[in-house]
Symmetry: C2
Subunit: 330 residues, 2 copies
DNA sequence: TATTGATGTGTAACCGGTACCACATATTAT
DNA sequence: ATAATATGTGGTACCGGTTACACATCAATA
């Protein structure tokens, strides 16, 4: 593999000048530049990323930390991040943490050590203090999916509360008379916001009861159990808003087992809008613009890496109601 | 961040000796080692991966190239690879190629440039020649999920044909009288092998017809269309073996739409055994030991990186029949 | 006793870039 | 005309490790 010195020798200029051409920094004569570029092509020069990184420049690598790669939401986000990253010349290291704080912190050490240029984090438990471990090294961080209060980093999330309102109103409009909400873990702001949307729409309804809200992990199994529990408590339910699509799928299973027909007897809607819809009937959902979120997160992170100022705000994205069979009026 | 020279100074030894301690290479006095280790702890020394990589050692980074992160099979595999990688002190770069040869080749350049230590590839179209581009740089490669003939690299796959046999026999045992197979893309050896298994069991049945095998992409949509097509051709079907679980989910949708009840009127089985089962009824499947495969691939790759010999064989894994509702005898 | 080999340690040259500093020369301002 | 500044280029010390080589000791073998 050709080095910068090879190019220097071949072109007759010094490594310094070649470096300037590569980085488009400093002054370089027009003709000099041409000659060096020609020489670079001749020997198929590709700058060695490792050396560049060691010399203080960036490593052209970012890390994407996600809590659960088995939840289709995150692969979709990963895909977006990766696409955007590639376009910007970045490579992404995948960090699946299985929701373990220990793994997350362990990754921090490794990643700092590898001189990554930035991080995109989706986490359910990281605190501000933890984040600072990375930020204090000058590594830019953005978060997706879930926000922490006062984190001081840009956050890219959907308008979860609006989405919750969208879902709840939709169920009411479809004629539901008693709606339950299976929320995601309450430690998550995202979950709470969705529940807040639900409450805003339903709390003043005559049938409303706090016990209509139950919590579940973000997976099929949890949704199933929560739905069972809800049905025991409220056999007269005719609508369910699930905190995400996996929960919804689990709920659907429970309903099927209890011989409650969806959507005829009970209507169901999820959240996220994950691409693959495997269920029968297809489940209505409040779709997040997952791809947009991932892409935007990466682009903003890129700006931060470049040293451009990025406001540590909460960047919110509109959700879209996607009506499918599971909530259609009979 | 403390460097090796800091440790040297503090301990009173030279950088060479410190390096020897770090790498457990060459001779080091017992007491010397203790003192240096103590000094390392004192300044919280962590070797700089970038420098180490530049100096010729490995980068402790491997790449995982997958064709479709949206297919749950691959996130599951990724999880296994990542777990194993982390245990071995490696970090994994995620390369989702969306099944595009161009992206794959583009990644090759980038990865070589980053001095990655090895690659785990799942690809539907890479040829031997392409692979050699990486291998000629001395970068070890292993493949998973799909094998190429004469690739010269270790391949980690399930016994697809056996799995096909398992699925087909199972349907027959459940009393099916006419079974179709929705195969994955034929360009894939894995797909062909599964189909081969199907043929071995069914080709000599009186009802067998070549038109009972149709192809589909590995996704829900493709499965849906293929199933529709099959039903048009063979309205009397009472069993379907789908090339993977996504296809099966699509097929289930089609069956539902055509008002064919699963499993009462028609039985269905998939392949892969992806963790989340969202469907009602749950779909029987031939489960691949995805986690094992990913883990084993990583471990063998590690051996290759260490310079140990690894036979360029096809390492095959047993599949397991997982019977769920969709194929139970009525 | 002389020779050999095992053991322990230090010096310094790499790896392949980046960037500071020095030194020209050309242009512009005073 | 002279000073000041802009432009173009080269030398080389870094970044933080690894490792070949040199040079000691000291025990074992001939």
């Amino acid at each position: 593999m050709a080095t910068i010195r090879d190019v220097a020798k071949l072109s007759g200029y010094s490594v310094a000048t070649v470096s300037r051409v590569i980085n488009k920094s400093g002054y370089v004569g027009k003709e000099t530049e041409q000659r060096i570029i020609k020489a670079m092509e001749e020997v198929q020069f590709k700058p060695n990323m490792t050396a560049r990184s060691l010399a203080g420049k960036n490593s052209s690598t970012i890390a994407l930390m996600i809590p659960d790669i088995l939840n289709p939401f995150f692969p979709e986000a990963a895909r977006a991040v990766e696409d955007a990253a590639q376009e910007l010349g970045y490579t992404v290291i995948l960090c699946n943490t299985d929701n373990s704080l220990e793994k997350e912190l362990n990754y921090f050490d490794v990643l700092i050590n590898k001189k990554i240029d930035g991080m995109i984090i989706a986490s359910y438990q990281l605190t501000n203090e933890h984040l600072n471990r990375v930020r204090s090294k000058g590594i830019p961080v953005v978060m997706i999916d879930n926000q922490m209060i006062t984190s001081g980093v840009p956050v890219f999330v959907s308008k979860n509360k609006d989405g919750g309102i969208l879902a709840s109103k939709h169920l009411l409009e479809q004629g539901c008379k008693k709606i339950a909400h299976i929320s995601g873990p309450y430690q998550l702001q995202a979950s709470r916001d969705r529940a807040l949307g639900f409450e805003e729409v339903c709390a003043n309804q005559p049938w409303f009861l706090p016990s209509l809200i139950v919590q579940s992990e973000f997976n099929v199994q949890g949704g199933y159990q929560a739905m069972m529990q809800l049905l025991d408590r409220h056999p007269d339910l005719d609508g369910v808003f699930a905190g995400n699509d996996l929960i919804a799928a689990g709920a659907l299973k429970a309903l099927y087992e209890r011989k409650l027909y969806v959507p005829d007897q009970i209507k169901l809607i999820g959240f996220d809008g994950i691409a693959m819809d495997m269920t029968v009937p297809p489940i209505s959902t409040v779709a997040q613009p997952i791809y947009e979120i991932g892409k935007s997160a990466m682009q903003h992170l890129y700006k931060m890496i470049q040293g451009e100022p990025v406001e540590a705000a909460i960047y919110e994205f509109d959700t879209v109601l996607k009506v499918k069979e599971s909530s259609k009026q009979h």
